[in-house]
Amino acid sequence: MKQFVFISGKGGTGKSTVVASLAKYVSNKALADADVDAPNLHILLEHEVVEKTPFQGAKIAKIDQSKCIHCHKGYEVCRFDAISKDDVINPLKCEGCGACLLVCPVNAITLHEELTGHVYQSNLNGEHFTHALLAIGAEGSGKLVTEVKKKVKELINKEDYLLVDGSPGIGCVVIASITGADACVIVTEATKSGLSDLKRVQQVADHFGIKTLVCINKYDLNNDVTKRIEEYCKSQNVAIIGKIPFEPLIMKALQQLKTPMEDDRLEHIKNEIISLWDNLIKETK
């Protein structure tokens, strides 16, 4: 089984559209959406949720108001501004550090595991698909990503491929999504910010010894930037496996909940996706 993870550095480059398209094209695979902050694959891909599991990925403090003597020691010691002057904890700001319970003279404060999201296990036309959603203002998305990938790996049996829609950015969440990958595909776009974010995320993947490949989306938006992306990839010995043009009809297809693979007007995009897949297989043989 080969695991391919799609990442982007910058948000909104078209990563999920590429993954959803491949999900329609590639057979004998499993799928995981590791973009837990803003999961999007489940919107485009018709699926049936088989199991929904709550996930506790962080701790927060709770004050037992019946015990609290309002000495304000917790308020004074909290460096995250998470305890109000009337001794109420703001769960959105609590980091779960436990400093307040160390100073509480009456043991009114305890740390509790907090629900930080849900993991979904779904059936996608007979194939496994796991996804998740992080709770609002929650911490611990890296752990949730690890959980989504763990879940799909438990289910995998004879599949040839595992496709993972990774997280944007360069931080810990991305690292959690790319670990264990046979290759990661960076979907970038031909803009100034696209190029700078590509460089940073490529360094992250490189550090973990994971083979990286690049797909340039909207490559004809700015030929100058595209050229610089190509030069950069060449200098890093990274293959460019796909170039997708700027195409307003892609957005129109998405609006009808269709991937480019299911839209007759997007034959040229479909061919690009297929050739991207062929190149990906070739490069990872």
Partner: protein
């Protein structure tokens, strides 16, 4: 002598795991008796500091060497202070890595890879 190897599975036929802190399993093998045991890496699901906790687990198991892929600077500091030698394993089974270790064919790691600062 006991050595620890990061593993993708629960027996010595499993492949080496390249991650250290977030490896799912550690295999602790006795190089003389050839016996081994598997331990779950509880640090794998920690929010942050997985490498540090995992390092402490290895030290508590009294391993004198660790075979893995990459270790971050935090894990390196812990392992070094506990006198654990670190070796870069190869992408083969645990069993084969142990053999390579015994033959002295694994490269020792003295510097850390880049830290990835835990999970937020």
């Amino acid at each position: 002598m006991k050595i620890a190897i990061t593993s993708t599975g629960t027996d010595i036929k499993s492949l080496l795991e390249k991650k250290f802190g977030r490896a799912e399993f550690f295999i602790i093998a006795d190089t003389e008796s050839n016996e081994y045991k598997v331990i779950d890496n509880k640090a794998a699901m920690e929010a942050g500091g997985a490498g540090i906790q995992a390092g402490q687990t290895i030290i508590n198991e009294s391993a004198i060497a660790l075979i893995t892929g990459n270790v971050g600077p935090n894990a390196l500091r812990v392992l070094t202070s506990g006198d654990v030698a670190i070796y870069r394993g190869q992408s083969v089974s645990i069993e084969e890595n142990i053999t390579l270790y015994k033959k002295g064919e694994l490269q020792q790691i003295n510097t850390a890879g880049e830290a990835h600062f835990g999970m937020k």
